[in-house]
């Protein structure tokens, strides 16, 4: 990995200082892309019922994504960021947490959000430009999306300070991307949570790209290795293998609940779509790369495994029907989404009375009234 230095006596004598490089963690995988169990998968065993539930979560999430992209193309949404390809990472992790564990998502966690009972309409409201955030985090225990990259890792850390103070056995989970890990905030959060032995689970979906920027531009070593350096328990998992993700998250969460401090899971995955509906990934990545990863589709692999394990065709058909019905709901829910008036928003800024804003609201109402009377005149 390193170029040899000019060999001097000093360098020769002290070069060994550097020998103790950290080894990268092997990636945990239970199911191969063609649906076979790995030795680790065999050892762990498969809970078929769980696997079916996870599969259903993934199928519906993918359907939402497909429908939403289509709605964007039809002009019903301003923008959509697909989680396509990352369903296993999201579903596997969130399903291994308790419903009461608070989650701080980034902005691509639609599959995770659905698992927390957030409705498609609530998810789409933001991208239709109706609201900045569509759901109530106190109900779903799923915080609103954070679009300023990495900021949410500190919110999770603070939330976990509270949990630690209260001696609660909660885990506070936070999602972020490979690109975001270059932000100061994320590193402050890793360090702060480690120093404070806080119950935070950092979950990085390493989908290998930050818009057009590959992970190799962001970092020299894999993120799980960096996390170890900060003193977190780090895990490296095949992010397209929902069973492995679920198992690793389960282990990590147990350790965190037991008080061992924060953990980080790096889930190796790939986004099949563009960064967003505005992005054309062909400008920066190859068809070969895409094809390679298409061969590692999380849904295909689990379906193969399930079929091998004897899940019948009927079950898949029923799921397909459920998914079709869901798609109809998604489309109509999207189109039904109508927003509020600008006038209503003045009241959302401050919790308490605010004379400047109140004055501006009045001014705005007067302006509208004048406009209207002009229109009439």
């Amino acid at each position: 990995m390193h170029m040899a230095p000019a060999e001097t006596p000093a360098a020769a004598a002290w070069g060994r200082l550097l020998d103790r490089q950290v080894e990268d963690l092997a990636m945990v995988q239970f199911v191969t892309p063609d649906g076979a169990l790995t030795p680790a998968g065999e050892e762990y065993g498969v809970d078929v019922d769980l696997a079916q539930r996870l599969h259903r979560d993934m199928v519906l999430a993918r359907r939402l994504d497909t429908e939403a992209l289509a709605l964007q193309r039809q002009g019903e949404l301003n923008l959509w960021l697909m989680s396509w390809g990352q369903e296993a990472a999201q579903v596997g992790s969130i399903r291994a947490l308790r419903q009461t564990d608070m989650v701080f998502p980034s902005y691509r966690e639609h599959a995770a959000a659905l698992c927390r009972g957030i409705a498609p309409a609530e998810l789409m409201a933001q991208w239709r430009g109706i609201r900045h955030a569509g759901w109530d985090p106190s109900v779903s225990r799923f915080h609103i999306y954070s679009l300023v990259l990495g900021t949410q890792t500190l919110h999770a850390t603070g939330y976990a300070m509270g949990a630690a103070m209260e001696r609660s056995d909660e885990v506070v989970a936070v999602y972020f991307g490979d690109g975001s890990s270059s932000q100061g905030d994320v590193n402050e959060a890793l360090n702060w949570s480690a120093a404070g032995t806080l119950p935070v689970l950092f979950f990085c979906q390493n989908n290998q790209w930050a818009i057009s920027t590959p992970t190799t531009t962001q970092m020299r070593t894999p993120l799980h290795r960096r996390a170890t350096g900060f003193g977190l328990d780090a895990y490296h998992v095949d992010g397209n293998d929902v069973l492995a993700v679920h198992a690793v998250t389960d282990v990590a969460a147990r350790r965190i609940r037991a008080g061992s401090g924060p953990g980080l899971i790096e889930a190796q995955t790939y986004r099949f779509g563009g960064h967003s509906s505005s992005d054309d990934p062909q400008r920066y990545r190859t068809q070969a790369d895409f094809d390679l990863w298409m061969g590692r589709d999380p849904l295909v692999r689990l379906e193969r495994l399930l079929r091998t394990l004897g899940v019948e065709d009927d079950w898949f058909k029923e799921l397909q029907e459920e998914s079709d019905a869901f798609a109809v709901d998604v489309r109509s829910a999207c189109k039904a989404l109508a927003g509020s008036d600008l006038c209503d928003l003045f009241g959302n800024v401050y919790a308490e009375a605010h004379p400047v804003l109140a004055g501006e609201r009045e001014q705005h109402m007067a302006f509208l009234a004048a406009l209207e009377s002009q229109g009439e005149a």
Partner: protein, 323 residues
């Protein structure tokens, strides 16, 4: 009624707030065992323990970012930023997260976070330790910005800020930390009300925090020259209590705004624009501004010439009266 320094009054206010409500936490660099570099949190660590008075790692973005997380969990964190010039690493968390999160959530979330900042010059400090940055936060929708100038206000305003369900930037005039004043049992004003410290018929001086004493001294000096000058302590920078200022200006027709920050895009500009709009026909002279020049705070050796002083305020009063 008791006599305290301004610094001790904030300390007492924090203690009171922490006693009244155990969701109130204090966090920042060196706020615990040391009691803060200005000793404003002195004794709180011993009294309330390390869970409620948290010596944090050295990272301002994380101080504010974790305070947001704590607030989302129901706490009322009070962050200390060690010096004015060190708030900028936290700017993103303050401006994009703390200020906007309530609006972003459609009014669902509340963020009762207070950020205490010792502010301004006059103590012979090195660079980055004498800044006045209220304009950045006042221009940021979603925040409240207040500034205390004396012990009584300090004691009450810090508690009012903590009681507020909105995020509050709380400025403490560091060169006045050691000035004593009497502290009443009850506050006489709401957090966002300006206080009229002196009435006058010729001209109004509006100031906040460290320059209130300068304005009062200038008013006294002007009196010797036969002018009757009113002084208003703005106390709240966002929202501004314009009606109090306006009422005074309607009598005098003249207003001078005094602050330590650069005048360019500063508080004086906002006050001037707003008052002029509302009192256009009453004004006998344009609203004048006395503040910093458009340069970084200079080395300590020349700060006395840089800071708005009585002479510069008197000069502005003269210019106003000359119209």
């Amino acid at each position: 009624m008791t006599t305290l320094t301004l610094g001790a009054a904030i300390n007492a206010g924090l203690r009171q707030a922490m006693t009244d409500d155990d969701r109130v936490l204090v966090l920042g660099e060196d706020v615990g065992v040391l009691g803060g570099v200005f000793r404003v949190t002195d004794g709180l660590h011993a009294e309330f323990g390390p869970d409620r008075v948290v010596d944090t790692p050295l990272a301002e973005s994380a101080i504010v970012g974790t305070a947001i997380g704590l607030a989302l969990r129901g706490y009322r964190p009070v962050c200390e930023i060690q010096f004015d010039g060190f708030v900028y690493p936290a700017f993103d968390q303050i401006v994009s997260q703390l200020a906007k999160m309530r609006a972003r959530s459609g009014g669902l979330l509340k963020l009762p976070v207070v950020i205490r900042i010792p502010v301004g010059g006059g103590i012979g400090a090195v660079e980055h330790h004498s800044e006045s940055n209220e304009a950045y936060f006042a221009h940021t929708a979603g925040l409240r910005v207040v500034s205390c100038s004396n012990a009584d206000d300090a004691f009450h305003m810090i508690q009012q800020a903590i009681h507020s369900d909105d995020p509050v930037i709380f400025y403490e005039p560091k060169r006045r930390y050691w000035e004593k004043g009497t502290v009443a049992n009850e506050p006489s004003l709401g957090l966002h009300q300006a206080g009229v410290l002196r009435r006058g018929t010729d001209c109004v001086l509006a100031a906040h925090g460290p320059t209130v004493a300068t304005a009062l001294a200038a008013a006294t000096a002007a009196e010797e020259d036969g002018y009757s000058v009113a002084v208003v302590d703005l106390r709240s920078i966002s929202p501004l209590d314009l009606s109090t200022v306006r009422d005074l200006v309607r009598t005098t027709g003249r207003l001078v705004v005094v602050h330590e920050a650069s005048t360019f895009f500063g508080l004086g500009a906002e006050v001037a624009a707003a008052v002029t709009e509302q009192c256009f026909f009453e004004l006998k002279a344009p609203v004048l501004r006395v503040g910093a020049y458009n340069m970084p705070y200079p080395p300590a050796q020349v700060e006395d010439h840089f800071l708005p002083d009585v002479d510069r305020v008197l000069d502005a009063i003269d210019r106003s009266l000359d119209y």
